[in-house]
């Protein structure tokens, strides 16, 4: 939906934008340091994911709505929980928008990906043993799209826009949602297992070996 935008939300002054970014960054750090019940080793995999997601989003920014960030947010939310998922959403958005451009939409992108990660923390794409379920990840490619798109589209709502206009705006973006969905499926099918190995890089070796033996990707 983003690429079909003709109007924009409120313009945020550089000072306000800087302040907003600082607050968001602080929230991300707080979420990272805040103790979590799970004892998973998440820090370096998460940082690696943030870097990978940011770089790939910037590199693929010329293809509208095709980026691995959404599927990565799903995997982070499912594996590390809502807290780390929100942190991931904040850090990726801040880092990639530093190149692509910050604005009012940054806030909604963060909320969008954080919402996706939150839902994924409930509708998991991993089984009880922490193994990635590709079928569920492929399904997540679908449900994550409307969540992210609707949240981000709210950024253009203003007092002068009727709900019919907003509905039309959403409808006009459906084709880009299809593109988003196809991109998600592509990243899930091609890179899902690879992403999973990165997320599991700090797990005990015996678990990794076990997972590797079970991994049957052939292409």
């Amino acid at each position: 939906m983003l690429s079909a935008i003709g109007t924009h939300g409120p313009t945020v002054s550089p000072f306000a934008m800087g302040l907003l970014n600082a607050v968001l960054f602080a929230v991300a750090i707080w979420l990272l340091v805040k103790p979590q019940q799970k004892s998973e080793t998440w820090l370096w995999p998460l940082f690696l994911f943030v870097g990978l997601a940011s770089v790939s989003r910037i590199a693929m920014s010329f293809i509208p709505n095709v980026m691995p960030v959404t599927i990565m947010a799903v995997m982070i939310g499912s594996k590390f929980g809502v807290q780390r998922g929100i942190s991931f959403a904040i850090l990726v958005t801040l880092a990639s928008n530093a190149v692509l451009g910050h604005g009012w939409w940054s806030l909604f992108q963060i909320i969008g990906w954080a919402s996706v990660a939150t839902v994924a923390s409930v509708v998991k794409v991993h089984d009880v043993e922490g193994k990635l379920l590709l079928n569920r990840l492929a399904f997540a490619s679908l449900w994550s799209v409307p969540i992210f798109s609707i949240v981000v589209s709210i950024s253009i709502l203003d007092s002068g826009m009727s709900m019919i206009e907003f509905g039309l705006y959403i409808a006009n973006g459906l084709l880009y949602d299809v593109l988003h969905f196809l991109g998600n499926v592509f990243f899930a099918v091609w890179f899902g297992q690879w992403f999973e190995r990165l997320l599991s890089m700090n797990q005990p070796q015996d678990r990794l070996v076990q997972q590797e033996n079970e991994h049957v990707s052939t292409f």
Binding site: A4, G9, S61, F62, N97, G103, G173
Partner: protein, 539 residues
């Protein structure tokens, strides 16, 4: 490894989603006009300036790298004064009866000098002097074998290309201005400021024909029905073919062109296409237009394009086919202009009276056998669609469902990347709200059936109409703001071109409507009709 290759492939395809393949550079000269066509020779653009020169200001000739716009060299005449309007002439190296020469850039000056420069560093290879009566050389020169034919202020001279030795000097006594010379079977033809057409044979014998009271300010055109001359008169202009009047037209005629049995001319009032058949030539088509300088011809995919600079405050260039106006080309710095564009392979060099040279690379190129970068990316995309389709079919055939899922998803994605952006714009246009916008009775009637744009800035309405048609809201906004002296701040952001402010006013943002309809697409994508009314208002 396969995944890495795939990621690289995806990155290679990213340019497909970019809106435009054009890029450009500009160079603003410190002073003076660009009144003559720039020459593009391989990797170099040559351009000269003209105009009134006071104090230390002097006319120059400069060379720029086509690719980067960096200045390679410049030559400043310390003695030439004003109106340096003789077009530059590039000569390929060669040899003849009078000697051998390397590539040369020939320049005629209003102080009567002709200088031959090295195209690589601008140094003078040779120079010579012609007659001066207030002014010197102002007309178009011509090449004949080993010599250059130069229309001088009071006659005609020819010089050896190898060393600049004068081979011929003819003086008719009448002064000429922009009196370009044409080479015919019999010799050389040029006109003067008193309506005489002079034909000089190769031995220097002159025969003159009086056409009528007026001025001949272009190189006569040699057609199969005789010489064509567009005579500037006190009332307007008269077109002559082989001495016979074939039409009376508007004032200040431009320099006509002849191509494939058609003559293209222009005046302050019209653009004219004259068709020549077996018997004679006659006016075939007239379009309202204002052009007084050089016309230029370009062949694009075997179609003729005639470019005419619009010598009006809004400037720009009209692009015509054989009979009518096809489109209008504009830049952000348009103003009065008389210089024809210079053409290279996929490159257009535009100059105007503001002394600004704009070099644009265009996706639409002249007929060329070399595929462009865009073609290469398009081909890669096409091949990737084909490849993934075949792999998907193969996976299906061997019932390898895991591989089928992978190749199938990649196939659908590359197809969608090709289809979605354009389809989305079409859909957005179809579903836009249908509302009407009222014509403001205070607007001049001349604005009817033209594009009108309204800006509401800080509670005050700024409006302009009667503009040359623009394709998008973005282009119309840029043009109108230029004319209304409204400053704009436009940023390329995540969402595309984002209008930040008008006259520094940021507010809560800006939005536009077209004919009263809210457009759910960006201003770069929002297409306009020739009579669209665009309104910019704060959110």
């Amino acid at each position: 490894m396969m995944r890495l290759a795939l990621l690289l492939l995806a990155l290679l395809m990213t340019p497909l989603a970019q809106a435009s393949s054009e890029s450009s550079w500009t160079h603003e000269f410190e002073s003076g006009y660009i009144s003559t066509q720039s020459l593009i020779v391989e990797d170099t653009i040559f351009v000269r300036t003209s105009g009134f020169w006071t104090g230390e200001e002097r006319p120059i000739v400069a060379a720029f790298e086509v690719e980067t716009g960096s200045e390679m060299w410049r030559y400043t005449s310390q003695t030439s004064l004003q109106h340096d309007m003789a077009p530059l002439l590039f000569v390929k190296g060669g040899s003849g009866a009078c000697g051998t020469w390397n590539d040369l850039l020939l320049v005629g000056w209003t102080d009567g000098k002709i200088t031959a420069h090295s195209p690589t560093n601008g140094s003078i290879v040779w120079q010579n002097q012609t007659e001066v009566e207030l002014l010197g050389i102002t007309g178009k020169m011509a090449l004949e074998e080993d010599r250059v034919i130069v229309p001088t202020r009071t006659g005609l001279s020819s010089f050896c290309l190898a060393d600049g030795t004068e081979l011929l000097d003819v003086d008719t006594g009448n002064i000429g201005w922009r009196n370009g010379v044409t080479i015919t079977e019999k010799g050389y033809v040029y006109g003067d400021e008193f309506g005489y057409l002079h034909e000089v044979d190769r031995n220097g014998i002159v025969s003159s024909t009086y056409l009528g009271e007026g001025k001949i300010r272009h190189a006569p055109l040699d057609t199969r029905h005789g010489l064509f001359v567009h005579l500037q008169t006190s009332q307007g202009s008269t077109m002559y073919l082989n001495g016979s009047n074939i039409g009376i037209m508007g004032a200040s005629p431009a320099m006509p062109l002849f191509h494939n049995d058609r003559i293209y001319a222009a005046t302050s009032d019209e653009w004219i296409s004259i068709s020549c058949d077996a018997q004679s030539c006659s006016v075939d088509s007239i379009e309202p237009f204002h052009s007084n300088g050089e016309l230029a011809l370009r062949i694009v995919d075997s179609d003729v394009e005639v470019w005419a600079p619009s010598n009006t405050p809004s400037g720009g260039w009209g692009v015509f086919n054989e009979t009518s106006l096809v489109r209008y080309e504009t830049t952000v710095f348009d103003t009065y202009g008389t210089a024809a564009p210079g053409f290279g392979s996929g490159i257009i060099a535009l100059g105007n009276d503001a002394g600004i040279l704009s070099v644009q690379y265009q996706a639409t190129t002249e007929s060329s056998s070399e595929p462009s970068d865009i073609d290469a990316v398009g081909l890669l995309h096409y091949l990737s669609i084909l490849l993934f389709f075949l792999l998907t079919c193969t996976s299906f055939a061997i019932k390898n469902w895991q591989q089928f899922a992978k190749t199938g998803s990649a196939f659908l994605l590359v197809v969608a990347i090709a289809v979605v952006p354009e389809l989305s714009v079409k859909l957005a246009e179809q579903t836009a709200f249908e509302q009407s916008v009222e014509w403001d009775a205070s607007w001049p009637d001349e604005w009817k059936e033209t594009q009108v744009i309204v800006f509401e800035i800080d509670g005050k309405e700024h409006v302009i109409g009667g503009l040359e048609p623009q394709d998008t809201v973005y282009e119309l906004t840029e043009l109108a703001c230029e004319l209304l002296d409204i400053t704009t701040e436009i940023e390329q952001q995540y969402l595309g071109a984002y209008l930040v402010s008008f006259n520094g006013s940021v507010g809560d943002g800006w939005e536009f409507t077209i004919d009263g309809n809210w457009a759910p697409i960006g201003m770069e994508d929002a297409q306009l009709n020739t009579d669209s009314i665009v309104e910019w208002r704060p959110v």
